[in-house]
Symmetry: C2
Subunit: 143 residues, 2 copies
């Protein structure tokens, strides 16, 4: 139930001494219930009805806060806007190169790759990122 997720997220914010403002609450709520992986601007637009005076900087600031305490993951793709993903479970993403759609993809984490990289490069590895690119079913048919 997403209400539980929201409460848990708020608990983590309190624990990190982050103030719960109405804007923060709304951004978090939106992210948790988002089916897609919204951009900062998606979130801004979605909430401007509720918060006509909200600044886009507020959205960015809050997303940064959420990212820093690990509530949210930021997906970056060069030029295009970042997308934000509420961090429920570990998963990868499959991205359509035609329409930009992002689909979650469960796969066991590539721990073996990380440990081999540590051995070979001498790095202390913290994490990795992997994405798969292609054409989604919709774009395949309509080409």
């Amino acid at each position: 139930m997403s209400e539980d997720k929201l409460q848990e997220a708020i608990g983590r914010l309190k624990h990190a001494s982050v103030r719960i403002t109405p804007q923060r609450h709304a951004v978090l709520d939106f992210l948790i219930n988002a089916k897609s992986h919204p951009t900062a601007d998606d979130i801004y637009k979605a909430l401007e009805g509720k918060f006509p005076n909200m600044s886009v900087a507020t959205v960015y600031n809050n997303l940064r806060v959420f990212r820093e305490i690990g509530l949210v993951r930021e997906l970056t793709y060069g030029d295009a806007s970042s997308r934000f993903d509420y961090n429920t479970s570990k998963h990868y993403h499959v991205i359509c190169e035609s329409c930009g759609k992002i689909v979650d993809f469960d796969y066991p984490s590539l721990d073996e790759v990380e440990s081999l990289a540590e051995k070979v490069t001498g790095f202390e590895v913290s994490h990795h990122r992997m994405e798969i690119y292609g054409t989604c079913p919709d774009c395949k048919t309509t080409h």
Copy 2:
């Protein structure tokens, strides 16, 4: 020998009907001999002695051309500038989160992941990207 690589690259440009201009030649030469993974600005700065009037747009234009014919790979990291990698062999990258250093890392391509993603999502997969993040040996010691 990097001279051979350069000649082969020029051959591929000719084959793709891309004109060989002095600027193009210089960007390509720089990329092939680069030990690191330079940004567009790195390349621009490195060549401004030789081409005082070269525009930064030229660097970007040429990098795009090289990418489109598969000579060069573009590595994107959200806000930061893209980095460009002369496409010799398939490999992954290990990136230092402290100093930004990028190290090549050989690992067998994750074809299995791609094919599973195709099955699960219905996408027609074209490629994937994977990077490993951590702290490099230099940054570990000097913390």
